[in-house]
Symmetry: C2
Subunit: 453 residues, 2 copies
């Protein structure tokens, strides 16, 4: 039940743990992409409306968030801008406008929210982060292999193990239709039905195919070939009977050969039934699936003329889209997440000791630890220790008038409640040692994003 | 002159170098904030329109980007959502909705784009990143000192040295008006004029003050006291004559005392003329200024009732806003930026050697280096070496049929053009050593965001 304080329908507020996890994952992805020589591109949240509309089809146009004109034009009720719907149309615009400044090939990644006015539902959001990896300007199969390899490495480095890359080719699909005598006009529908072979029984798919007008014999042969125990061999034999099929097989095998050694064998599988609905693909296509997750957790393929259709130059292109939001749902907390909000809590026991408390917190931070003074109203140590425990602090630095007189700090281990008196100017070194860190190069500074060892 | 391929007016596309710099800076900020125990909060790009409108004043409401209703309601020309205009209203909404789940005090940072339909101009954007640091639920001056200290550390860690924190208090301003007998109704205008003392001559400010209706004598005394060589002392003496003034002075001095040792002396200055136009401040106020930069590069203060006015709970609050876009303009490239697009380039000299080229690039990546195979159409080594040079690669890994026969790789140093033959399986170690890296813990993986030593 939404309340007036919820974020708008289909969007989310992310509190600390979720933000940290997301930033960690985004950092890992940026790191992998950079290692492959992909460079980042960031475009604005909105585009001029004519740049966006008419690019995704009529149904999608209805899902675009449109921005009202401003000032005196607001009353017109017209829109002149719209929130981006994906990251590919902005890429096409940049490729058109900046073509000569971009390297050839242009290997770029983009990561950021897109907005779609879908009906919100479980796991479906109106604002969600997309992450795309694309290479513009190379028709080499090596470019396909590279984006796929980077996609695989990104998943692996995020810690995802139980996923499979389903590999196919538009030429294989064309060859299949030809080899089994599917009339051209039935092609697209037949492919949609075949793609259901992982969800429906063979007989159901045959029924769907005949329902679409395919002859019973062809439907039966096709489904049988694709579901038989020796389906792989039979499909390969069938494909060799058509030019398109043979070309598709070669394409798939070349890609498998290039990825051999980079992607573990069990993680990639030639999957002739896999269709990828989008008509713009022109060569290899792939889909990443994970055990227990409906739909895909990523997909891509070669799309040699799409950039031109979207308003960019006519360049060969290949790319992959990481289903970041779905992958995030599969991931636990980041491996290096530090428990609690603070490592070191610093009580403030009297007004005239507050400046020293600030200095002690700074000393702890110089040892790479998260540290803060107490900001509440109580001057009682007991209350402030409770606060320290609530923050999940490992240590409390207690500095009262007695400690000041002796030039020491009482370091309290919050887990054991044991206390040690440490010379005032030795506190940073003491904490660094206890935390197992080199104070000269604190871990928290070595790893951006606050990660720890 | 905008072209059809430019981003919308007032927005920007960020290519690789700019993205890397921005991500580096954002990472540094997150790191500093985390060390202080501030936690991240991310809210959606848009809010329900009633959450946003009426919160910033009538003029600001005109600058809000409004989103048209969708589907059958689109034709109404009405808006139901709007792009966020700042990060404080979303904070108030979250504090209202999630109050009981948030820690007390709630120390949060937010960093992300906001959108304002300002007239675009030099250095003014309609989409720009804001970065806010706020503490809700503490009325302690330590909370003010902490956000200010974190703000200072963030600037310093970004490498900014030449900046000053101008410190003042709303109570000081009230005391000033009282001490110099400014009639209450003239107060706000008088403060606006006084704030110009850093830009206008004293006589001009006096003229402005009398123009506002202030008695000539009062105007002269006020400006003289604030511009005299012993202005600091004279203003302090004057302030002690009023209750508000004395309270303000104590507030400022307390803050200066807490920051003593944390912020270098020259970097913070009590500045009685500094006003901060925003009426919602209730205590200390500050502004960060940098040499040669008009306006401020950050500002903040205590605002004890604003969260309630914005729809949240009535909690004491203090916060600071980092002028990220302006600060970014002052920064050079990140200290750890790696030159070029790649560290290692791998030519592909024949189709049957492509899989090995992939493996070599992977070996280089395992040594923490950025590496890619050649994706172009030429099989000629000369052409591919030119490509490697264009990428800024330090090494080329050449693997032809001769190398395959001998089980070696020719490693070409792109700067010296010197070549070494290295055993095939020793390449990763060789490169790691040449790059001065520990292959077991590559630098590129230790520092998220692709930073280097």
């Amino acid at each position: 039940m939404p309340t007036q304080f919820d974020p708008p329908s289909g969007t989310r507020d992310f509190l600390a743990a979720e933000c940290d996890k997301r930033e960690w994952a985004f950092g890992v992805l940026r790191e992998v992409f950079a290692e492959y020589g992909f460079e980042p591109l960031q475009t604005p949240a909105f585009e001029r409306i004519d740049v966006l509309l008419g690019k995704y089809g009529e149904e999608a146009d209805k899902l675009v968030f449109k921005i009202l004109r401003r000032g005196e034009h607001e009353a017109s009720g017209e829109a002149d801008l719209a929130l981006r719907y994906d990251l590919t149309v902005p890429l096409a615009r940049v490729a058109a406008g900046r073509g000569s400044q971009l390297p050839v090939p242009y290997k770029r990644y983009a990561m950021g929210p897109v907005w779609r006015a879908d009906r919100p539902g479980k796991g479906r959001f109106r604002e969600c982060v997309q992450c795309d990896l694309d290479t513009l300007g190379s028709s080499s199969p090596l470019a396909d292999a590279e984006v796929l390899c980077a996609h695989h490495d990104a998943m692996a480095r995020l810690g995802l193990a139980d996923f499979t890359i389903l590999l196919n080719s538009r030429h294989v699909l064309a060859g299949l239709l030809e080899a089994f005598g599917v009339p051209e006009e039935l092609g697209p529908g037949v492919l949609i039905s075949l793609d259901k072979l992982d969800k429906l029984a063979a007989s159901q798919v045959v029924a769907e195919l005949t329902g679409r007008g395919l002859a019973e014999r062809a439907a039966g042969d096709l489904v049988e070939a694709m579901t038989a125990p020796d389906a792989g061999e039979r499909i390969r034999l069938a494909l060799r009977r058509s030019d398109a099929g043979a070309a598709g097989l070669d394409e798939v095998d070349r890609l498998l050969g290039l990825l051999d050694g980079q992607v573990p064998h069990g993680r990639i599988a030639f999957t002739p039934r896999m269709v990828r609905g989008l008509s713009y693909y022109t060569g290899p296509i792939w889909e990443l699936v994970a055990a227990g997750v409906p739909g895909s957790i990523g997909s891509g393929g070669r799309y040699d003329h799409l950039i031109a259709q979207l308003g960019g130059p006519d360049v060969p292109a290949t790319g992959t889209s990481l289903g970041v939001e779905r992958v995030l749902m599969l991931l636990g907390p980041p491996p290096a997440a530090r428990p609690g909000r603070l490592d070191v809590a610093v009580p403030v026991l009297a007004d005239d000791l507050a400046a020293q408390a600030f200095a002690l917190a700074a000393a702890a931070r110089s040892a790479g630890l998260r540290a803060s003074v107490y900001l509440g109203a109580s001057a009682k140590l007991g209350r402030q220790l409770r606060w320290a425990a609530e923050q999940g602090a490992r240590w409390c630095l207690i500095y009262g008038h007695a400690e000041r007189q002796d030039g020491v700090v009482t370091v309290r281990d919050m887990a054991s409640a044991g206390q040690s008196r440490v010379a005032h100017d030795a506190v940073a070194g003491y904490l660094a040692e206890r935390a197992g860190r080199d104070p000269a190069r604190p871990a928290a500074r070595a790893a951006a994003g606050g990660g720890d060892e």
